[in-house]
Amino acid sequence: MEKSIKKIRYFFTLILAIVCGYFVYMGVVPTGRITYENTFDDENFFIRKLTPAERVQKPADGIQKIVGQPVYFSLYTPRTFDSAVMTFKFRNKTSFPLIEAGILSDKKIWRYRMSPIENKTLDEMSAKWDVSVTGNLSLYQKEKKYASVAEFMAAPPDLSTVAVYNAAFYPDFRMSDYVQSDALETLGSGPLRGDYQFYAYTRNEGLYFSFKIHDLNLNKDEDGIEVIVSSKDNEIKRVTLADDGNREDNGRASVARELDVIIPDLSEGAYKIEFRAGSDIITDQITTVQKKIVFLNKLWLMGDKPTDDLCCDSYRLTAQTANPAALQTILVSDQEAGGNASFRRLKLDETYKQYSLALDGKLKKIHRSLGDVVISGDGLFSFTCDTFFRPVPRKLPDDPASAGGGLRYVLADYRPPAVTPDSWSVASATFDLKNAYRENGKYSLMLSIPGLRDSDDQSDYLEISSIRADLYGTDLMSKLKKIIRL
């Protein structure tokens, strides 16, 4: 009897040990590689459901329909990993021109690093244009001039004929007619809210920027500020300013403070300056010696009755406001039009709604009358047309029709999706997880499908059949060796 008891006890204990060992193994992932997959048959702990609920339909037969964009989902990992290859199996019956996946890299400014899933513009181009592939990069040429990507990068053509998509291409940029001056000037005609990025040109005067800011204290988050100066993706200088000390959401605006970024010795060229701050931070004034400054992506303009007009070279201009008092009609005219200008109108009728206008990519003037409006686009913006310059190639526009115009070359890091025999497309995006934002073990990801709106009357959608995450990180042996060496 005693023997039987022992045998049974050992057997049960062994089972418990195996179960616990399995959990620890799956948590530690000693090989450094693991795969999780959500096939939409059931709830998945690792790849969570797509949100918000109003932009998706309930999964049926292992297929999730997305009816609005963007949609978000979390990827839970029991430990940290270095990179993730996210593979999406989808069906784009509506033929949306662009599908991208992104991972949250900076929560303060809510920035996602985007990666292509499907780009119909490039897929269509590849059928008509010449395509050269080197490594991850593909060069699309309307008329073949360059034999390879390397040849193109060594002697790039006029930047106005080039577009890039998901590729880092920073050709040397020099302005022959640039006139340097040490005279300080104030930029723009009104305050800016939140984060922004811009390029500034320097010859021998170095970089000098003085940001006069204040904190609205409308949100509880800490409102530290970081200004990062970089050249060709290489960080040169980082300047920080701590929170004003008021971490409450009491709306007591802080006193004005100044943040100076001064780099006296810099070689001639265009430098990128990234002002990272939450939406509580207002930049009241930017003082600089730089004469050529252009902003990227978006500007949250606060000043009413501006004396300057914005200039931009976007293919698509978008405006939005959350303030009922800022509803207005934004006028867009050609740069050289002068008094005979014919205006195109972008009317903001409702708050929180994005309004957009298709443009031809040539330099345009944007006239607004009220502040508290977010202006964004796929081009560059400047506060006056005199200060506009384009130091980098433009991004490939979303709209296939506008992409053909003056463009002759497209440099892209993109592979078209594979198509399965049952007509599903399969595409992967690789994300660097070391620089991704992780909270409570979760990475935040998104799917962007421009043109897919849940609020319109159209019954368009994107079907997703599975999302797979292949994670790669340090294996246990390497980790132990690293710890021992320390």
């Binding site: 049974i8 616990c20 690792f46």
Partner: protein
């Protein structure tokens, strides 16, 4: 004590130990267990096996 009752008793012990170990693991490393196993199910299983254990023990005492 029959083999059946012996197995019930030992199973109750090991499930009790499992509940304790898995809860400690979950407390020390959140989601380590929950990612794969619903701990509520373990608790329900523990409750059932505990009831069976009490019933079988009472039967033994009556005999």
């Amino acid at each position: 004590m029959t083999l059946y009752r012996l197995i019930i008793r030992e199973a109750f012990f090991v499930v009790s130990a499992a509940v304790a170990v898995l809860f400690v693991m979950e407390a020390v490393w959140p989601n380590l267990v929950l990612a794969y196993l619903n701990l509520n199910l373990i608790l329900i299983f523990w409750l059932i096996i505990g009831i069976v254990r009490i019933i079988t023990a009472e039967t033994d005492e009556k005999k």
